[in-house]
Subunit: 143 residues, 2 copies
C-alpha cells in the first residue's frame, strides 16, 4: 500500500492523523489486528486514538479496499492491509504472521463446478489458509 492517501483524497475523504496512524500500525504489524489491539498499540505509541475512530476507520478502509477483515479462531475479526484487487491470506496459527496470495485458476475451476452442481450464482468468496509460517515450523522442530 503506497497510494492509499491519494485514494482517500480522490474518494473525497480527508487524510487525517488518526487515519494515518491506523494504517501505519497495520502496515508495521504483519499480523491481523483487532480494533482492541489497534487501540492498545496506539496508546503504547502515545497516539491515543479513540476506539470509536478505529472502528470507523477500519470500516472506511474496508469499503475502499485498503484493508481486509479476516476471521480468526478466537474472537474473530482482525484486519490486514491489502494491495488493490482481490486477495486471500495464509495466516500462521502460532505467531499470527500473515501473507497475502492471489486466488488462482484452481479456485475459479472449483467455483465453476459448484455453480454447475448447485445452480447458485457465486458472487464472492471467503478463503483463508491457516498453517505454520517457516519461522514457527523451525521453532517447532527444535522442540
Amino acid at each position: 500500500m503506497s497510494g492509499w492517501k491519494e485514494l482517500l483524497t480522490q474518494a473525497g475523504y480527508r487524510v487525517t492523523e488518526p487515519r494515518c496512524a491506523v494504517m501505519q500500525l497495520l502496515l508495521d504489524s504483519g499480523m491481523p489486528l483487532s480494533p482492541q489491539a489497534l487501540f492498545e498499540s496506539s496508546r503504547t505509541q502515545r497516539q491515543n486514538l479513540g476506539l470509536v475512530t478505529i472502528y470507523r476507520t477500519l470500516e472506511l478502509f474496508e469499503v475502499l479496499g485498503l484493508v481486509c477483515r479476516v476471521h480468526l479462531k478466537d474472537g474473530c475479526h482482525g484486519y490486514l492491509p491489502v494491495s488493490p484487487g482481490h486477495h486471500h491470506f495464509v495466516i500462521c496459527e502460532h505467531c499470527g504472521g500473515a501473507v497475502e496470495f492471489p486466488g488462482g485458476d484452481d479456485l475459479r475451476m472449483l467455483i465453476a463446478d459448484i455453480e454447475a452442481q448447485t445452480g447458485y450464482r457465486v458472487a464472492e468468496h471467503l478463503l483463508q489458509l491457516i498453517g505454520l509460517c517457516p519461522v514457527c515450523q523451525a521453532q517447532r522442530e527444535l522442540a
Copy 2:
C-alpha cells in the same frame, strides 16, 4: 445428520432435551442461524432454551463436527448442521439459504502452490462461497 445422538453418547455426552432442540432448529432452518436467532426460535416454539445453553451446545457441536460456524457479513457467526467429513458452503446472500458441498481434493493444488511460494505449511482452510440461489436469481430477473 442422523446418527448425531449416537455420536454424542459415544463421546460421553448426554442426549438432552435442549441439545435435541438446538439440532432440530438447525436442521429445520436450512440457513445459518446465530445464537440469538436460535434463542428466539426456541421461544416461538415454546421450548424456551436458555441462551447460555445455546452457546454451549453450539460450541460442543462444533467440536464434535456436527455443526459448522460460518462467517456472515453482518454480525458474523451463524451455525449450520453438517454431514461428517470435510465440506464447505455456498450461502445465498439474499435469502440466506445454504448448500453444503464436499471438499475432497478441493484446493489441494492451490494449497500446494501457496506452500511452495510462501514456505508456510498449511494445516487447514476456511472457504465459503457467497452468491444467489436459483430461487433468488429467478426473483431478481422478474424485477
